[in-house]
């Protein structure tokens, strides 16, 4: 049972229109593998018949399922490590200094998949920010409703929990429930999850101090990358920070960002770097501190306020 080129073209076009995800020719195997279970559940007539059904007026709901099935939701805790080391060593101290009067930090995990990124941030905030009396709000969004539901639920299998989450943090923030691990109420209360398409105009949102837009631009074409980066920039405080994935950059796409290297990482900021209003935010870019065992550098490493 294989996919005709017309069917592939229809699905590629649908997914591009709805989610801006680009499926180049050559990705037929991917489309086929992801559509197969949906086609089977629909009936015995095969994958091309299913694609024909999608195009009929009755195929509306099924089209949304197809878009969701073609998202790639690969993720892990502390993904790539370094962004989270820099978050703790440089970004959080700076944000604490800048938000000393309103004592609130707003964060957006903008393609959150099943929530590991949002809860990783929540763990670090619970360690370094919340105990100082700051309020932290994390908005986690994704185009896939199933992923948003999973983020809201905050339950992970043994195999999922093992990917990148240090054991000390696992037992601190999760409770074993049957064969799964449930995130604590403390972390869950920091995270709000909602469906959001990055390729469409953004709804009304808070102004974010911190945006994680990681491993999602890679699926878009250049013009979409540019327009997404433009919209995200407008949703941010000029003094905020944007984190991108390891293979993503603003360079050559949207030159209005200010780029600051920290170690091997580049921080993107909407406005020009200014010296902190108060306190001792790091003045010059420096290499991130060495990794520490608990996954969290001691809070005393850098005096923020």
């Amino acid at each position: 049972m294989s996919l005709s080129s017309q069917s592939f073209a229809y699905v590629a076009d649908l997914v591009r229109r709805e989610a801006a995800i680009v499926l180049e020719p050559g990705k037929e195997y991917l489309v086929e593998a992801r559509l197969q279970p949906l086609a089977r559940a629909h009936g015995p007539a095969g994958i091309d018949a299913y694609v024909a059904f999608l195009q009929s007026p009755g195929g509306y709901g099924a089209r949304a399922e197809v878009v969701e099935a073609l998202t790639t939701n690969e993720t892990s805790w502390f993904r790539d490590r370094e962004p989270f080391d820099v978050l703790v060593s440089h970004v959080i101290p700076d944000l604490l200094a800048r938000t000393a009067t309103r004592r609130k930090i707003t964060v957006w995990s903008a393609a959150c998949s099943s929530g590991q990124e949002a809860y990783t941030i929540a763990m670090l905030m619970a360690e370094h920010v919340v105990p100082r009396g700051w309020q932290v709000e994390i908005l986690a969004t994704d185009i896939a409703p199933g992923m948003v539901a999973r983020t809201r639920e905050g339950r992970y299998s043994q195999l999922e929990i093992g990917r990148g989450l240090p054991a000390p943090l696992m037992v601190k923030h999760f409770q074993r429930v049957g064969t799964q691990w449930q995130v604590s109420d403390q972390l869950r209360s920091m995270v709000r999850a909602q469906v959001l398409n990055l390729a469409a105009p953004l709804p009304l949102m808070p102004v974010f101090d911190l945006v994680f837009l990681r491993n999602v631009l890679i699926y878009f074409d250049q013009p979409t990358k540019r327009s997404v980066l433009g919209r995200v920039r407008k949703a941010m405080s000029p003094e905020g920070y944007l984190f991108l994935g390891g293979a993503e950059t603003t360079l050559g796409i949207d030159e209005s960002w200010h780029r600051t290297p920290v170690g091997r990482l580049t921080l993107n900021r909407p406005g020009p770097p200014a010296t902190a209003a108060t306190g001792a935010a790091p003045a010059a870019p420096a290499a991130p501190p060495p990794r520490t065992f608990s996954g969290v550098s001691p809070a005393t490493r850098q005096k923020a306020i």
Partner: protein, 159 residues
Amino acid sequence: MSAFAQESPVTPEDLQLLGGDVLAAFLLDHDRPGDPDHGRSGVLHASVSVRGAWNGWITLEVSRAAAHDLTRRMLHDDDVDDDDVRDAVGELVNVLGGNVKSLLVDGCVLGLPEVTDHQHPDQPSVEICRTELWWADHPVTVRVWSAEGRDLHSLRSPA
């Protein structure tokens, strides 16, 4: 705990899920399994005990042919002997047993795995849960046995 109301703390769905995770983690679900060697006959019985606040066994039965094939894959080695196979099947039941134990009441101790050629003739305990995982068209039967409410000293492993 009542002697006859053998409410299972573990469901067949739990066993399916755990079993699937075990096979996936040992990369046993990746590409198509090789044809198990049909020259081998008989069944291997592996078991591990749980003692303490809950008492019983987790057992696994698999044909020798399938067990050989499983072992070759786990060791990435085509040349495996009978000891290798027993050790590999023992480790499978150990991993399953530990995870099943974690679904039971807290405060139990897992024994060391045993692998034998025969099921013990006595009926030492009550089967409370069972599932079948499939490996290369061979069933791998996983069962949980409860010895709750029985005289533990008169019991022997069901494997």
